[in-house]
């Protein structure tokens, strides 16, 4: 009732407040280089997305409401055809503090090749293989901005399950994932109240972050089951975890050093994972305005079970070429080599540039090489693809 009254109280200001409307939409054509592993999968795929954004602020800018929607239609995979509220959040700001209430997105961390520390939002796994797209997370977050750092406490009252590719989709396991029947360690299932705290601070040329999370694991394990027709499937199992994380970035001359490490307790077992490396920049290459950045990161994970451990002893080398032109052209190239198995590696290219104020093109390509059945990337060995996207911004 109280919220209703305050809503009604806000309503007049809301009506007169200016609402900004913006967003993007895109068409993506994918082509897979090899015949698929499973006969139902196709070599080419067309997909479109629409991502509108609404924003308004009131009370002298101390309050704001942001909405970010997302919808994708996929030609082949009905699981990849999905809608999500990426953000729908009310922010109330004071002089040195703020409260965010609603569905929001939070990013933690510093490294490029892997995001270990980042844990608040569930990965939108059908969007892209890089794991950088996230589902909106319901939360109440209180932040304090002080001379000694920025501290945020999160209460996360509802868990978002991971979405998996359907049988017609690529990037999937041999067996279907039974997303209708997940298993939770918590008796409250997806209504388990997760919480987290993060502190982040700038110390001269250093950025330091510490975080702690207690709640439902965003990464599921899988339990092999069979239905009444004895058809096998994988049921996602979401255990309770406690995770401590640290992330550091240091600017040391022409070098930028980055590190993320986590210690996670899951089902009475502990494991450690880290990723660390550097970025080296050449500015104004050969007397041009081009910048070239070299990236190298080492990924380590001490889990024995490799289901979720793509990066247990791997090395990423990459290069980002920034043209500094009017069109904002950028090319990112990378190769992740498994140091345990010389024949397991992944390569990627991301290139993009503006056509004009509204339009942009993008080319993404992923190449997987894996002859090692015990590695999770073995499932993707025939999923090499190139994708051309045309994006419209408004």
């Amino acid at each position: 009732m109280k919220t209703l009254i305050s809503l009604i109280a806000f309503l007049p200001t809301l009506v007169f407040a200016e609402i900004e409307y913006s967003g993007s939409a895109g068409v993506e054509q994918r082509y897979y280089f090899q015949d698929a592993l499973y006969p139902v999968q196709e070599r080419s795929n067309l997909s479109v997305y629409f991502a509108p954004e609404l924003f308004t602020s009131f009370n002298n800018g101390n309050d704001s409401i942001l909405f970010k929607g997302f919808y994708r239609f996929d030609q082949q995979d009905e699981e990849r055809t999905h809608a999500d509220i990426r953000e729908f959040v009310w922010t109330h700001s004071g002089e040195e503090w703020e409260v965010k209430t609603g569905i929001s997105k939070v990013f933690w961390g510093q490294t490029e090749s892997l995001h270990l520390v980042d844990i608040i939002n569930q990965t939108d796994a059908v969007e892209a293989i890089d794991g950088e797209d996230k589902l909106g997370q319901p939360m109440v977050a209180f932040s304090l901005f002080k001379d000694w750092g920025d501290t945020t406490v999160f209460v996360l009252p509802y868990f978002r399950e991971r979405i998996f590719s359907g049988s017609d989709g690529r990037f999937r396991a041999t067996l279907p994932v039974d997303t209708d029947n997940p298993i939770f360690e918590s008796d409250d299932e997806e209504k388990n109240i997760d919480w987290a705290i993060r502190w982040q601070h700038t110390l001269g040329d250093w950025e330091v972050g510490l975080s702690y999370f207690d709640g439902t694991s965003r990464e599921p394990d899988f339990v092999l089951t069979a239905n009444e027709f004895l058809e096998p499937s994988l049921r996602p199992f979401y255990p309770q975890i406690q995770q401590a994380g640290i992330d550091v970035l240091a600017l040391l001359g022409d070098w930028t050093v980055k590190f993320e490490g986590i210690q996670r307790k899951v089902m009475e077992q502990d494991f450690t994972a880290f990723v660390g490396g550097f970025e080296y920049s050449f500015v104004g290459l050969f007397d041009t305005v081009y910048d070239v950045n070299w990236l190298m990161e080492y990924q380590y994970d001490d889990r024995e079970d490799l289901t979720n451990a793509f990066a247990q002893n791997d090395l990423m080398v990459g290069s980002r070429l920034v043209f500094n032109d009017v069109d904002g052209t950028e090319i990112l190239l990378g190769l992740v080599q498994d140091l345990d198995y010389s024949n397991v590696r992944t390569g990627f290219i991301e290139a993009s540039s503006r056509i004009n104020d509204h339009w942009k093109w993008r080319v993404d390509a992923w190449l997987f090489s894996s002859d090692e059945p015990s590695e999770p990337s073995y499932l993707l060995r025939r999923d090499d693809y190139v994708q051309l996207s045309i994006e419209y911004y408004f």
Partner: protein, 274 residues
């Protein structure tokens, strides 16, 4: 309460600057007969900095017109919030409105006199606040002919000065001085500035590349007086002599005393900036 204390601060600053002004005028007249070119260059730069002290904070709406050698134009829209710092370089917040694919991107910069500026960028797609290396200060700002270092605040400690000659520029009696950047990461070997004798406004700057060749020429147009004291050019033209490209930085709207405080320049709230 806060605005009041800010106002009081500003009063203190402006009365302080008057005292300093009188003092420098006295000392400069004492020394004028035995002044070296370096001393005179430094004195001009100090007076230039002094005359621009006490502006407090400002908010502006700007366009960048990028023009290639063929004369084709592209427009960028940005909003700029600035906060004057008394003991340090200024704080700046740039919000990108156009091109639309970078709309919502925010660039936060804490300028420093001697050590590199602290800079962060908020990338809306990832919801990520990224610390950026300010050492690549010679790189272009948004694909324009302005480098990042051209957007940073003017601080005495960044240069060695030398007065070259007096000259009339566009009908205004001016000091022509050389300023050599101290930072080895600067993209320039030197800058030649034309500063008018009446108001100590920068009228023109020539930028020389690391090899010593003329790279760019900046001319300030349409000076407007704010708060009865501070001159701001409403149009800045940067012309690249080597590739024929140019960028106009046009101020559509500029206001002072908008109540900005330190907390408006916080990397933690960069996400909320609109």
């Amino acid at each position: 309460m806060l605005n009041k204390s800010l106002l009081m601060n500003k009063c203190i600053i402006s009365s302080l600057s008057k005292v300093v002004l009188v003092f420098t005028l006295m000392t400069s007249s004492l020394y004028s007969y035995a002044q070296s070119a370096e001393d005179k260059g430094l004195a001009i730069a100090k007076e230039r900095k002094l005359r621009d002290m006490g502006w407090g904070d400002s908010t502006g709406n700007l366009s960048m017109i990028l023009r290639n050698a063929q004369g084709e134009e592209v427009e960028r829209k940005i909003r700029l919030k600035s906060l004057e710092m008394v003991d340090d370089g200024d704080k700046g917040l740039t919000i990108f409105d156009q091109p639309l694919d970078v709309k919502g991107t925010a660039f936060l910069s804490f300028s420093h006199a001697l050590k590199p500026d602290d800079q962060w960028m908020f990338l809306p797609k990832l919801s990520k606040v990224k610390r950026i290396r300010s050492r690549n200060k010679s790189g272009p700002f948004m694909g324009s002919e302005f480098a990042f270092e051209d957007m940073s605040s003017f601080e005495i400690e960044k240069y060695n000065f030398k007065h070259l000659r007096d000259e009339t520029f566009e009908g205004q009696a001016s000091f022509v001085s050389e300023q050599v950047p101290i930072d080895k990461d600067s993209g320039y070997s030197k800058q030649i500035t034309w500063v008018d004798k009446k108001h100590y406004r920068v009228l023109k700057v020539e930028f020389y590349d690391r090899k010593g060749s003329l790279l760019k020429e900046l001319i300030n147009y349409e000076f407007t007086l704010y708060l009865h004291k501070f001159w701001r050019p409403m149009r800045i033209e940067m012309f690249n002599e080597q590739n024929g490209k140019s960028t106009d930085l046009v101020t559509h709207e500029l206001s002072f005393n908008t109540g900005l405080t330190d907390s408006d320049f916080n990397k933690g709230t960069l996400k909320n900036v609109r």
